[in-house]
Symmetry: C2
Subunit: 297 residues, 2 copies
């Protein structure tokens, strides 16, 4: 069996064929431009590299309700031109193979769950902090969808007492994403995560204060076996350790055993930058197995 | 088949035999005193009313990890005398039937999921606001446990600008439970939810402000198909409507379709006070079906 994986973000798309870590036969990178051009290039690349099933981990929001007439569409994204794009329909029609779509963060969560920090054990949450903040959760082997899919970045958070930045979220201003995403850091400080300037300690302090509130919320609402935290902002030196310290403070004596082992509980992606595209292989495998089960019945 | 259900809270235990709503053959109420006395009375009542399986929805925290040598125990509860109580072991030994244990809120969530506001469809979250604040979630038919079980009451929340109460949580002070549980209301105001005094509007405003943050967090982290909100504090006139209004403000244009139908999305328990004990029947049924499957293999 040969699987295809697509990880589509706001600026670039990674396409790969293979079966898992150490078994990526080939990969390419395509810039995210218009939906027509981008999907055409994706389909063209896979047309030359036949696969048995395709997994697609896309930026959203997505319609993932199989009973919806817009199943497999990108819905209300602010990304120009992409709202209303039929990702699943286009890829199925062009490539003639089963396609499973999920969010980019759920894709990364599947990758880490299957081959990375989750080790297929129990429940895993995955959080990414970059141009946006997103999160997904795998419970009993499947991503949590519900009525839509998680949008963890919009969590309401307590404001740091020394932070006067209004926040950058177009919907909420100072929700988590509005205060702690890479654009928020840049707008507050005039700096970027890659160039934090002379006061990186202040950025680390604010980031840890805000991100720890998401980690604590995940602990209290989902109680996963592990939380993976990735994304470009986490390259800030000392940030992950600071997030663990702040999280320990928010948990306190309510869950002392968990508080005392946060270094093993809140962890970076074990698959590095490949969580997403490997997770897309997991989605492809699900598409293939489901189709096989249906056909063989 | 005849099922037994136990709903054990901090002040009283409800025991019932039956199979579901409209089919509760008999029930009793036992005060929660010492573990030895309380469990003895529970076992005695069921000894006279044989059942095929027993579901127990207990106050916690509980050890629900089947691989743990303390599986089925109450763990670190502050309730005097109850920490380290082996609920499952005691009931199995005394009654000789399969026993499944879960938290009181997960029990209520199962009841509402199976027969109440959830209608067995998709993902359901259940929140109760009383002497404590708790929450549970059913995803694909099973309660979310993970490394422990949800402890939604300890969510960090933004403080209402006009609220100077320090908070009543012994662990965190001003987490959600510390600011919005019935004891928090009483300590802040010198009043109780049942006797809100001359300024109930202020209590409703504060409660709605805090509880809406949990509802929003559940939406953003779990995206359930429906959220049921119960518990004694919700008897405050106008509170549920106020919670919906505050939640709509926190969601805003991020999820407009959801924001505009919160009256059908954030709902009271359809089973009234019976969510918990009926959910215990669901647990009993799971115990029975699992045992049957294992034995018949």
């Amino acid at each position: 069996m040969r699987l295809g994986g697509i990880e589509a973000g706001g600026t670039k798309v990674v396409c790969a064929v293979g079966t898992g870590p150490g078994a990526i036969a080939e990969r390419t990178m395509i810039p995210t431009t218009t939906p027509a051009e981008t999907l055409e290039r994706i389909a063209g690349w896979f047309a030359d590299r036949p696969v048995d099933a395709l997994g697609a981990a896309f930026f959203g929001p997505l319609d993932l309700d199989p009973s919806s007439d817009r199943y497999g569409y990108i819905t209300s994204t602010p990304k120009p031109g992409w709202a209303g794009t039929d990702v699943v329909g286009f890829l199925r029609a062009r490539l003639g193979v089963p396609v499973v779509l999920d969010t980019d963060v759920n894709g990364a969560a599947y990758g880490e769950y299957r081959w990375g920090a989750g080790c297929s054990a129990g429940t895993l949450a995955y959080v990414t902090v970059g141009d946006g903040i997103g999160g997904g959760a795998i419970v009993d082997g499947a991503a949590v969808h519900g009525i839509l899919h998680p949008e963890m970045g919009h969590l309401p958070v307590r404001r740091h007492p020394a932070d006067v930045f209004a926040g950058s979220c177009p919907f909420h201003g100072d929700c988590l994403e509005g205060l702690a995403s890479a654009p928020a850091i840049a707008r507050r400080s005039g700096r970027t995560p890659a160039d934090p300037g002379p006061e990186p300690a202040r950025t680390v302090e604010l980031e840890a204060y805000y991100l720890a509130q998401l980690i604590a919320a995940i602990v209290y609402l989902l109680s996963p076996h592990r939380i993976v935290v990735g994304g470009g902002v986490l390259h800030l030196p000392g940030l992950l350790a600071a997030v663990r310290r702040e999280t320990a403070g928010l948990i306190g004596d309510a869950l002392p055993a968990l508080r005392d082992r946060l270094d093993q509980y809140v962890v970076p992606p074990a698959l590095g930058p490949d969580s997403g595209v490997l997770g897309a292989f997991v989605l492809a495998r699900r598409a293939h197995d489901y189709r096989s089960a249906v056909v063989s019945d």
